[in-house]
Symmetry: C2
Subunit: 214 residues, 2 copies
Amino acid sequence: MANSSIHEEVLQGLKWRYATKQFDASKKISEADWKVLEQSILLSPSSYGIQPWKAFVVTSDELKQKLPSAAWGQNQPKDCSHFVVFAARKHVDQAYVLKFVQRTADVRGMDVSSLNGLRDAILAKTSHLQDHQSWTARQCYIGLGFLLETAAMLKIDACPMEGILPDKVDEILGLSSTDYTTVVACALGYRQPTDKYATAEKVRFEAGDLVQIL
Amino acid sequence: MANSSIHEEVLQGLKWRYATKQFDASKKISEADWKVLEQSILLSPSSYGIQPWKAFVVTSDELKQKLPSAAWGQNQPKDCSHFVVFAARKHVDQAYVLKFVQRTADVRGMDVSSLNGLRDAILAKTSHLQDHQSWTARQCYIGLGFLLETAAMLKIDACPMEGILPDKVDEILGLSSTDYTTVVACALGYRQPTDKYATAEKVRFEAGDLVQIL
């Protein structure tokens, strides 16, 4: 059983976080904090571990200024410190699967031929999937979950954002002709003291309504 | 900036976790730990906060014995302590939106009519969505992310499982004629010392390959 201090620390972080509407544009995430946030993105799991997405992290002011136009005028992308765009692979083709299998062999010091079973299992899955992107997009949301919980543990404010125009974000970030397309984003930074949502009661359904023990 | 001990604690948890293949069926998650895991499910964010999914937590031996048949014979659902099935709403209808808006008013002590703008925004979104379930399913994955990271912080083993047959899990859990359908699951509990995956090197692409600063 974990000790009660980590229990308190996790609960406190999860209750503290909220979808930040107003960021203080003058406050930036430190390099030490960013390293941990980046690791939480990198270490988040995915189906077979194939990580069929990338995270594009916008910190340049020039790009940030363009983003509200791709987010229904919302200012979080512009005012936050780091704006993380999760972009899913449009297609998990054979070359990508082979690259992942080779990476596995390299990291684990194995002969790549010993991973033929893994390779074939993934290729069987991808060849049967009609819509790769609906599968790869879901994996982005695990990364989003890890990023949000890690930010909460570090007391860094965040706003997960689905209300963005993927095509327009792709265009601004230069992704349009790549293998990746925008799925969801997350603004990270520090709240303005005037953000009234910070003190609004958190709304959730009753535990018994959402979680049922069988 | 967060202090370095929470940095270390988060990183250590994320590196410690792995997709557990063999669970020790004799070890159960304590009530105190489960309460925190449950809260992490409940507190995970979702689009508009509408929580368009439920978590069904299988602890009964009778149900657990049936689950490997819905998971390509994998034993994690049977041998773990708590098997969490994330089931997405098939459709976010007007009644559900009104229930959420009423809940918001109740929790925040507001007059429900002051939330007409929120109500209309959500109804506009849902009326334009062709496929509600692909949207609600993605929200499940945020919950999965929160559950996995919380488990890691508590040193509870976990195995995220997409390799399940949703229709069959629905049938076993009695969900087939409900508004919810199985999307993804997560086995939670404690590893067997014989699970060789516990010591295998974690495979991830290079940080510079997955995360790009713009």
